[in-house]
Symmetry: C2
């Protein structure tokens, strides 16, 4: 383990860092507190709840559903939310407001954009996908190939991308911006440029970076992107997902799923499909009204955020976490597996146990029992999802103290933590 040249961090250091990054304080006050004495490091799975979300959902249920009923379709912004939410979130990912929409699930959107990319890059048919990417993205590509609409070329990592592109037949490279296990962040600009140099398009999954770190989609030249709505973006469990299409491809093809909400004139009930201009053509069916009401609370919060400042705060938080683990936990058999440079990490920090009898699932359960809500992924990743607004340096101190105590006592070996957790 690299040992810092300075003295080990203290609780006072953590408090000082919180003071130095007070940019998030006003925003953090707009999140609802969780359970007492519980530290949440699971924004990589579900981000915290904006305090305003329940009131918004309740109003949608009461005024919108119970009282107004079908009049709400006409009298509210229910049908406009996919575009309004997209415009609110676009600055977080460096996109023009009218290039982002919020709809459907990440997997459904991945399908739409892989198909859109294949259409735009025809007659090329090859989709380059990572062998170890989050499985749903790989499955979506395999399904497209099974239907005869393309071909999957698996790579073991971004290092193999150049070789995969070399034959000159690649339509689209679909990469996860951040690995869901160890949080390695790829260089979006460089890899997009590499794809473009070989005549291929680039589709990025931002699920583990959007809302955690600053992203520059437009600057990177990325062609397409999706992002999960319920992780760092705090849209609520099962929230709809983001779709981004670079302006140059927005009108390149009909969408894969041609629904009435993506029609150029939805309420004309025209005989024939005509795609809406821009990203809106990727809307399909009726919006998820209740989910969008919850997401609206987060969107308003993000509207007031300075993502560049939050990126710096996220760097400070995760750098602090890594230093604390190095200092306090390395001697007890836990090491950081995420990259050391913030620019090469996504939203979370991954640890692994080095002991011969390591059981990361048991350690994760022991941490949760101690009030530190983290997550684990097979085979050996313990993940601390760090939210740039909601988490504090002081919380990190407490969480690492609890982790240290568990490791020192060996309490993770308790049989009650032996069961499998998905």
């Amino acid at each position: 383990m690299p040992t810092p040249a300075r003295p080990p961090l203290t609780p006072d250091d953590c408090r000082a860092r919180d003071a130095a990054h007070a940019v998030a304080d006003a925003l953090r006050a707009r999140f609802a507190p969780g359970a007492p004495d519980t530290l949440y490091f699971d924004a990589n799975s579900i981000g915290p709840m904006p305090a305003d979300a329940p009131a918004r959902v309740a109003a949608t249920l009461d005024a919108g559903w119970r009282v107004a009923r079908r009049r709400s379709w006409n009298q509210t912004d229910w049908l406009d939310q996919p575009r309004l939410l997209g415009a609110a979130l676009a600055p977080l990912i460096g996109a023009a407001g009218d290039s982002v929409a919020v709809c459907d699930s990440t997997s459904v959107n991945q399908y739409k954009l892989l198909r859109h990319a294949l259409a735009a890059a025809a007659p090329r048919r090859v989709m380059v996908v990572e062998r170890e990417v989050f499985p749903s993205n790989r499955y979506i590509a395999q399904g497209i190939a099974r239907a005869g609409l393309g071909e999957v070329r698996l790579i073991d990592g971004a290092g193999d991308l150049a070789a995969a592109l070399a034959p000159g037949d690649v339509a689209v490279v679909a990469l996860s911006h951040v690995d869901y296990r160890d949080a390695t962040r790829l260089d979006m600009g460089a890899l997009t440029a590499l794809a473009h140099a070989h005549g291929a398009l680039a589709l990025w999954d931002l699920s583990h970076s959007a809302g955690a770190v600053a992203i520059d989609l437009a600057g990177s030249g990325a062609d397409f992107a999706v992002a999960c709505g319920y992780k760092y973006l705090c849209g609520g469990p099962g929230a709809p997902a983001l779709v981004y299409v670079h302006p140059r491809w927005q009108d390149a093809a009909w969408p894969a799923l041609c629904g009435w909400m993506g029609h150029a004139a939805t309420f004309d009930f025209a005989a024939d499909y005509a795609p809406a201009p821009g990203v809106a053509r990727h809307l399909v069916g009726t919006p998820a009204v209740l989910a969008n009401a919850a997401f609206g609370a987060a969107a308003d919060l993000w509207r007031d955020a300075d993502m560049a400042a939050l990126d710096r705060r996220h760097a400070s938080l995760t750098d602090t976490l890594i230093a604390l683990i190095d200092e306090q936990c390395a001697p007890l058999g836990v090491e950081v597996t995420s990259p050391r440079a913030h620019g090469r990490r996504g939203g979370h920090v991954a640890l692994r146990m080095t002991a011969p009898d390591a059981n990361v699932s048991a350690l994760g359960q022991a941490l949760v029992a101690a009030g530190v809500v983290v997550s684990t992924r097979k085979p050996d990743a313990l993940r601390f999802g760090v939210h740039p607004i909601a988490n504090t340096h002081a919380e990190l101190w407490q969480a690492v103290a609890r982790l240290r105590a568990i490791l020192a006592s060996g309490s993770w070996r308790d049989p009650r933590f032996a069961g499998e957790v998905r």
Copy 2:
């Protein structure tokens, strides 16, 4: 207009009919009341809200999101809801519980099942679709054809189906069980048999019948079906939609959208996609948790319902509405355009104005202003969506009295009703 041989209906007759169909009384008490003095006949657009829905959504927000956060994925039934809701609703449409799932939107599900049908019926490529069906279904088929995955053959109505099937090249006939304008209900069994006789499969959209009238999917031999979740089924605005696949086709092909929730072993994070057995393979991304919580309130209500008895009650309600219109409104320039036989109607009753200066949009707005929430569709349909549980015969009397007063006074000609409403 046919004139009944009996004396005109009275308010007492309506009360008597409510007493004769008291089967719905206990269930009706489980819906939240709407605004005072407001009569809702818009279940064809958004069904009424179960009184329990806000508490369930609030609990999901508070205990599930705010407090438990990512632990809810493990400790609750969030991920099982698509199957649990499907099993609860299956009896309403005459399906086995494990043949129905609740997920995504109706349009997305229509895409999945059209593609599944094309795969099952390969090498046939023709999709027969009605020219005047609800447009999203037609657009979805046109999009599939545009991608070279099939061919659209439009028919002007079910009467043209035999001719469309005659060439023997039809893969799937995709029909709306009930017309969204005049409520005409097709004969699912006969048309499915006709399709089968020509080697084609049948996909039914039950959006305007599911939850309103009894449906016998299994008995009809239908191959596939979708249904909107937020109309008569009362799932809440933008609720996920139903997917039904007959057991004989469930394992016939990979799904069109191969996502992790439709994988045979989601949390194995396997290298390759392997479809889950049964209808579950059509699940794609993370479930819409908040929407499913609301839908759960309706599902519990439906679990206690006797759909055959509710079908009889719906027949009585809509027969009564038609009689009241005939008796009280026909002389004032409004006539029923829906079929006279209940078995040939879906959930709503459609009216049209016969006056030379008719303006159904203005009449609809005048009715809403008078506390009768109905809807209109171009060019001339005024729709009363009748819910078999929530609406009463007594309400019908009041609604028709208000309609009669508007027609008699000509108040629908007021300039404030002249604007267009989508």
